[in-house]
Every structure is written in C-alpha cells, then in structure tokens.
C-alpha cells in the first residue's frame, strides 16, 4: 500500500501574471482546477462581483447559449463547473471551480484535462459579449436570480441568524457585507459596467489557479499558458483584514420572526487572526470551548442542561471573530446565556483539564489531517496562506497545536470579548 502524503504541498510558478499552484497526486479519480480572483470586500463592488459570478456561468464566446455550455460540460463526462463568491475576512473571492474525470478511468481516448483547462480559459478570457458588454438577457435574468438568492437567506434560520449578528457586530466595517451583495445595488448595474468590472478584475486583481490530480506539472502549465491569456498589468496588493477591534460594550439584539426554535448567536472578537503567532492557540481555545462533542458548550448546554440539540463555537480565522451558536426554546434564553458566559469565564480562569486539552488536540489534529483527502480542502488551506501573507505548513501547524498549554489558552482567553448577543425569536410573548 502506498504511503499517504503528509503535507499539503503545491509547486508554484508564475505564468503570465497568474500564480499557478499544482499538486500531483494519484489518489483522486478527478482533476480539480480552482481559480481564485481576489479583491477587497467593499460596498462599491460586492454586488457587482456576486452578479459577475452568475453571469460568467451562463455563456462563453464558444458557447453563447447556456444550453450549449451545459451540454458541453455533460459531454465531458459530467464535468463540474461553478462560479461563486466567498468572503474570507475582508476579501471577496471570486472562485471558478472546475472538476473533470481523469482520463485513465475511461476506455476510450479523451483529452479531458485539456478540454477542462480550455473551458476555464474560455470563462476567464473569452466571455460571450454583445458589443462591449455582457449580454443584456443574461444580466437581467441573473439580477433576478441573485435577488432571489439574497432574499432566500431567510430560509435557513441558522445562516440568517449568523448574517444578522455579523451585520450588527460589524456595523461600519466591510465584514458586515454578505458575500452575495445587496439587492439595492442591482438596479444600477448594466451589461457594460459589469464587463468593465470583469476587465478590471482580470487585469489587476491577484489571480491564483490551483490544480490537484494525477497530472504532469509541465502539461498543466503548458495548457494554462495556451488557453488562459489575460492582459495582466499593475496587479494590486490587497491590504490585510482588520482583525483588531476592542469591544466598547456588550450589546444585545433581538429579532422577531415566525419561528418555533429561537437561535442564539453570540459573536466575540478574539483579536487574533490566521497570520498571528497565537493562531494555533486560538484553534485549541475554540476547540476546548465549542468545537467538538467533548467541548464545554456541548457538555454544559446540551448534555448537562438539555437546553439544546446543538451548541457550538466556530472561527472566522481571517477576521478573528468567534461565533457561539445554539438553538433553544426562547424561555431558556437567560439560562443559556448564563451557562455560555460561565464557559467563557472558565476559559479565562484557565479551568481546562488535561483530559479536555488532549482530546481537543487529538480531534483538531484529526480534522487537519483529514484535509489531505479532499482536493478542495487542500486548495482552501493553501489559499488561506496566500491571502493572509503567512504560508502555514500542515506538519508545522500540527506540531504547534500539540505544544499548546493551558497558559497559552489563558493568554487567548484574556483577549476574547463578547461583542453582540443576538437572539432570533418568535413573535409571541413580551419583548
């Protein structure tokens, strides 16, 4: 049995102003090609970029009709193609995702890898245009789709509560924005202005292409050189996300909606982000507090008090925000908040047993080693290094996690402060 790889290691080369990162590995049956286009998260461009993601999916110069484009992808043995926007700290990343079957699993001769890279090149450099603009019919339809997508955030109460508390916490900060943008901006966007924005991104934004699969590095580089031709110049440097912000006072925000279960989300500032020395300590801190079924939140809110089915904490590593989340009966609001605050206090006191520390290190390390089995997650890990300016190595991070002590956790805890307590509750009863 072949040795499994222990490190996430890409070979990086600069090709025509684009950073190309390749990781050859035989363990996957497909080749994954992800293009990341980076820009600041800002009110001016957030909606345009989100709309662009949707319009880019509709057509290319070679496939002017969406039906033709989808037929082509299906013909390539069900190639996966998606364009989306994600928020990483105060950056909005436009992601072009492509995944195609490795030819060696087919009996007939098929140049699938080359076809896939050609297709990515089509999307990035040969869009379907009418004049100097994206086709009005696609722009108009996708505005509607985007509007519906933003309005449907309310369907998933957990996500909705998470966005609401983020908006409340980060008023005046770019991080308050939803990656999909704002419905009010849609009317002001035209096929022309959208194409100008596209050109701006393709010329000046940092672009990284990641390729994972059973591939030859030279072959991939040659294909990218051939098919991805962009007019790259004056590539921007995007500034760091602002993770340090002292909390002036703890706020309580309550929203009302027709819900059966109340969602309690408590947003904290940690003052620590991905590039910081204390980041491994923050990972362990979050793990002990609410990352796992042995963690303080799960044990105390769910197992001991039976107040909830889920009680967890999650990190946004670039912005340094930690979100504690639970679904409760609204009558237990005060009790749940008290128990959660007790856990934070207990972390401050360094009240962390050897057992829970070891459990957290073991499960956290397991989570990181599991990244190695997913092309997409390895790409995400490597990209966090690119945008934070601090490249982390998996083995090194695991060693750092392993060395964390209770003293380190106390140092982290001293900086963690509750910013906003948010409750999404029903419309019955008193305020």
């Amino acid at each position: 049995m072949s040795e499994s790889v222990k490190e996430i290691s890409f070979h990086t080369t600069a090709l025509n102003g684009i950073n190309v990162h390749i990781m050859p590995t035989a363990k996957f049956k497909t080749t994954t090609i992800v293009t990341m286009i980076e820009q600041e998260l800002s009110e001016e461009t957030v909606t345009k970029t989100a709309l662009l993601a949707m319009v880019m999916k509709r057509a290319t110069a070679r496939f002017p009709e969406t039906k033709q484009l989808r037929e082509h992808l299906d013909f390539l043995y069900g190639a996966i193609f998606d364009v989306d926007v994600v928020k990483k700290g105060e950056r909005q990343i436009l992601q072009i995702y492509m995944e195609v079957l490795n030819e060696k699993y087919l009996s007939q001769e098929n140049a699938l890898l080359e076809s896939a890279i050609r297709f990515v090149g089509d999307v990035l450099s040969r869009p379907y245009l009418e004049g100097n603009a994206f086709a009005e019919k696609y722009v108009a339809q996708e505005k509607e789709t985007l509007r519906k997508r933003i309005e449907s955030l309310i369907d998933d109460k957990m996500k909705y509560a998470n966005q609401r508390v983020t908006e409340e916490m980060c008023q005046g900060e770019p991080f308050a924005l939803l990656a999909q943008g704002r419905t009010k901006d849609l009317a002001g966007i035209s096929g022309e202005s959208l194409y100008a924005h596209f050109q701006e991104l393709m010329s000046h934004s940092p672009i990284d292409i990641f390729v994972v699969g059973d591939v030859e590095q030279k072959e991939v580089e040659a294909a990218i050189g051939k098919f991805v031709q962009l007019d790259r110049k004056d590539v921007k440097q995007i500034g760091p996300t602002k993770a340090k912000k002292q909390v002036a006072e703890e706020r309580v925000v309550i929203d009302r909606l027709e819900v059966n279960q109340a969602k309690l989300n408590i947003g904290c500032r940690t003052q620590i982000s991905y590039a910081d020395e204390d980041y491994p300590a923050l990972l362990v801190y979050n793990g002990v507090l609410g990352g796992f079924p042995h963690s303080k939140l799960f044990v105390n809110v769910r197992e001991k008090a039976s107040l909830a089915y889920y009680a967890v904490s999650r990190l946004e590593s670039h912005k340094g925000i930690m979100m504690m989340m639970s679904g409760i009966d609204v009558k237990n609001f005060d009790r749940a908040v008290t128990i959660i605050k007790e856990q934070l206090e207990s972390m401050k006191q360094g009240n962390v047993g050897q057992e829970e520390l070891e459990q957290t290190k073991a499960t956290l390390s397991n989570q990181f080693r599991e990244l190695l089995d997913s092309a997409r997650m390895m790409i995400d890990f490597a990209y966090n290094g690119v945008i934070s300016g601090r490249k982390r190595h998996l083995e090194e991070l695991l060693a750092q996690i392993n060395g964390i002590t209770v003293e380190d956790l106390k140092r982290v805890a001293a900086q963690v402060a509750i910013d906003t307590i948010y409750l999404l509750r029903d419309k019955k009863g008193d305020a």
Binding site: S4, K27, D74, L101, L153, L372
Partner: protein, 430 residues
C-alpha cells in the same frame, strides 16, 4: 476472507461473514489519510410495527429508532463521544427511513476506535433518568426541523404521496410521540433489530485489510449473542393512488418552495432489477430536467425556477418515488408545467444524442463520487441491503438502452401517483 477486484475502478473489496452473522466489508483506499467506519443496522423509522420473538405484535412510538440512536451513546461508566475524542476520532450517527448508522472517521488509532464502535453499539445501557433527559434534547432537534422549510416541504410531499406506508411519519417523531418512549420500549427495539445478523460493518480508507479483519473477528468472537432472530416487519399495503394531491404549509421563506413527487407502485424489486430501475429512472430525470435540458433552460429563463431546482429518485424494496422541484415564485404553475413537460416527453420520446450524453455524465459523476470515503461508506451499505454492489454501477449503467429509458418514462410518471407539496410565507411582507 473473500476478495473482489474491480479493475476498471481501481478498487478492491474484502468481505467476510462472521459466525454470529455479521457481514464485514473492507475497502482500502490507496494514498488516503483517513479511515471511515460505519456500523449499520437494517432498522429505521419505518420499522414501527413488528412481531416480537414470542409472537406478540407491537406498535412502537414514532421516532423510537432515532431516539435509540441517541441513547446508544450513553454508557454506565464512560462517555462514548469523549472516548472517541481521546482517540482523535470524530464520531456521529444517523437514522433514516430504513437504517440506523453509527460511524467515525480517524487518521490515527484505528484499532481502538473500531473496537469502541463495535463495543458501544453492542452494549446498550438505558436508564429512565437518561431517557427523560434526552427528551429535552431531541425536542429541540424536532423543533429545529420544524423551522426548516426544505425539510418541511419534503416531508409533506411524502405525507401527500403515502396513505399508509410509514415513510409518511417524521424520522424523529413528534414531541408527543417521543413522550411515550421508555427504557423498556428501547430495549425491546434493540433486542429485535441490533443482532449482528441484521447488521453490516464497513471500513473504508487507509489500512491493511488482513489486520483489520482480524481485529473485527477477535472483537466479535469474544462476545456472546442469542441465536439469530427472525425479524418480521408488519408493513401496511400501500394503495397505488396518492393520499392527497396537494399539501400547502406556511413558514417564512424568501420564495415559495414546491416539490412534485411520483410514487412508485410497490412491486418488491430487489438486486440487479432494482439497481437497473434506479439508474434508469435517474437517467430519465436527468434527460428531462437536468441543467442541459430544454425544460430546465426554458423555466430558468422565464424565472419560474432558480438554481435550487433539483430532482432525485429513491427506490427501495418496499417503496420508491421521484421528486423534482425547488424555489419558485409560482408553485402551481411549476407543478402544471412539470406535468405537461412529462406528458410531451412521453409522446415525443428521447433522442439518441441526449441519451448518450446523460449516460456519460452519470458515469463521470459516479466515478467522481468514489473520491469520497464518506460516499463509499454510506452508499455501499445501502446497496448491500438491497442486494447490490456499489462498484457494479458502471456496467449496469452501460447496459441501459434508450428504449429502457423511454419505457421507464412511460411506466413511472402516472398522473394518479403524483402529489405536490408547497411551503410559502404567511404574508408577502415576510
């Protein structure tokens, strides 16, 4: 230990039936870091009416299979989840209509985690106090699902389609139904459905198969089990007509949600015939409603559907149905258009090019899914329970002809077996 090599897929399956009846399957994955193990019993929410060993017929409270799954984690002198954490594993469990699965994934300490999995599922420990305490937790889980419009629209569709078959009841039950669960009813279900002969253990990932099989053999040989029981499930006869043509429900949503379902006539298919029907129906759905279909493109361009539009088919021995739909501004129009689109397609037939392309897509996506040890672990067991082999999907797909697809399209989509489920906001302001 028996070995089967699937050359085209570059996968190998090792299997053995242990003396106590437990079926064990091992699928090593070259170069992977993690191992994923699933211990599954053929027991789910639909198994609510059955006969005990003494011949007595029992109806158990709705939601008990799921409740039992939660309570398996409780032990007299240890905490199962904490134990997995100590070994660096992440553990979980889930209950579906027809099975309950206990699982973990790990990158270290496979021996300890595997023994822990086998031991905790094979040593029940229920007390009245812990059963009562769990009702609060599961109550919140049920309430969470009550607020989930995607789950609601799906469950309501099953309620609309099925008159009697217990797939129309919530997997977790209701707060009322679980209030009747006691430690005795839990033991009754456990003893009926958790015998090793009713279970499958599957391990996928990074390990040596000989070594792992020995661990499992040793673990099982050290335990005693009663003789293999005969499980007699008492299912009602489901008529072919639907229970209700339409169910509408209110929850706050951005856009209304609409699902359309076609119920399969219960014909008891298993094995190769079931697999072929399953794959053929999925091809029909993809040709009719996939993103490259004329219908999808037309509806999307008109704004009748969004990217959330999706479809699936589920075919088991006792039940089966296809589902299609998603978010739409006009649910009734979408339902009518789907019905009409199917009628026209049934008349016009399918062209060879669309058929070949759909098949290529299906083969590619299947091979892609084998990148995921979770997918293999979960699907492999379902296929086994139906008498099939996950790794035989490609040859079966290749054997399907355009004529099969056309015949299936005519057979499956019967207007009397169709139902509609809608979820929308109470008022437009919401």
């Amino acid at each position: 230990m028996q070995t089967t090599v699937f050359e085209q897929l570059n996968e190998t399956v090792y299997e053995e039936k242990l003396p106590n009846g437990l079926a064990v399957y091992l699928v090593p994955k070259q170069g992977f870091s993690k191992t994923y193990a699933v211990f599954t019993t053929r027991y789910g929410s639909i198994d609510s009416h059955f006969r005990l060993k003494n011949g007595e017929e029992v109806h158990v409270p709705d939601g008990i299979a799921h409740f039992l799954e939660h309570k398996m984690f409780e032990k007299k002198d240890m905490d199962v989840m904490h134990e997995f954490s100590r070994n660096g594993a992440s553990c979980n469990a889930f209950t579906s209509f027809n099975r309950t699965a206990y699982l973990f994934s790990c990158t270290e300490n496979l021996d300890r985690n595997l023994n822990l999995l086998l031991d905790y599922v094979q040593e029940p420990y229920f007390t009245e106090a812990s059963v009562e305490k769990e009702k609060g937790i599961i109550g919140q889980e049920i309430t969470m699902y009550d607020d989930n419009p995607d789950w609601k629209v799906y469950m309501n569709l099953l309620k609309a389609m099925y008159q009697k078959f217990p797939i129309n009841i919530e997997i977790a039950g209701t707060i009322e139904s679980i209030s009747h669960i006691t430690k005795d009813t839990l033991y009754q279900c456990y003893e009926t459905f958790y015998h090793p002969a009713n279970m499958v253990l599957l391990v996928v990932g990074s390990f040596d198969p000989e070594t792992v099989m020995k661990w499992v053999r040793d673990n099982q040989a050290a335990k005693e089990f009663p003789p293999t029981p005969v499980i007699e499930r008492l299912f009602p006869q489901e008529p072919s007509a639907v229970a209700k043509e339409r169910i509408e429900f209110q929850l706050p949503v951005g856009l209304p949600k609409c699902l359309i379902g076609y119920k399969e006539k219960a014909d008891g298919l298993t094995g190769e015939a079931l697999l072929k029907r399953d794959l053929t129906t999925k091809l029909v759905l993809d040709i009719a409603f996939g993103t490259s279909s004329s219908l999808y493109q037309k509806w999307y361009n008109e704004g009748l559907i969004t990217e959330s539009f999706d479809f699936d088919y589920s075919g088991e021995k006792e039940y089966g149905y296809s589902i299609m739909g998603g978010d739409t501004p006009d649910p009734d129009k979408l339902a009518a258009q789907i019905k009409e689109g199917i009628r026209q397609l049934q008349q016009a037939g399918i062209n060879q090019e669309d058929f070949e392309r759909a098949k290529r897509k299906k083969i590619g996506l299947f091979l892609r899914s084998l990148n995921s040890v979770e997918f293999i672990a979960n699907q492999f067991t379902s296929y086994k329970f139906n008498g099939n082999e996950l790794f035989s999907v490609v040859p079966t797909l290749e054997s399907i002809t355009r004529e099969d697809v056309e015949a299936r399209m005519k057979e499956h989509f019967v207007p009397e077996q169709m139902a509609v489920s809608i979820v929308r906001s109470a008022s437009p302001q919401e």
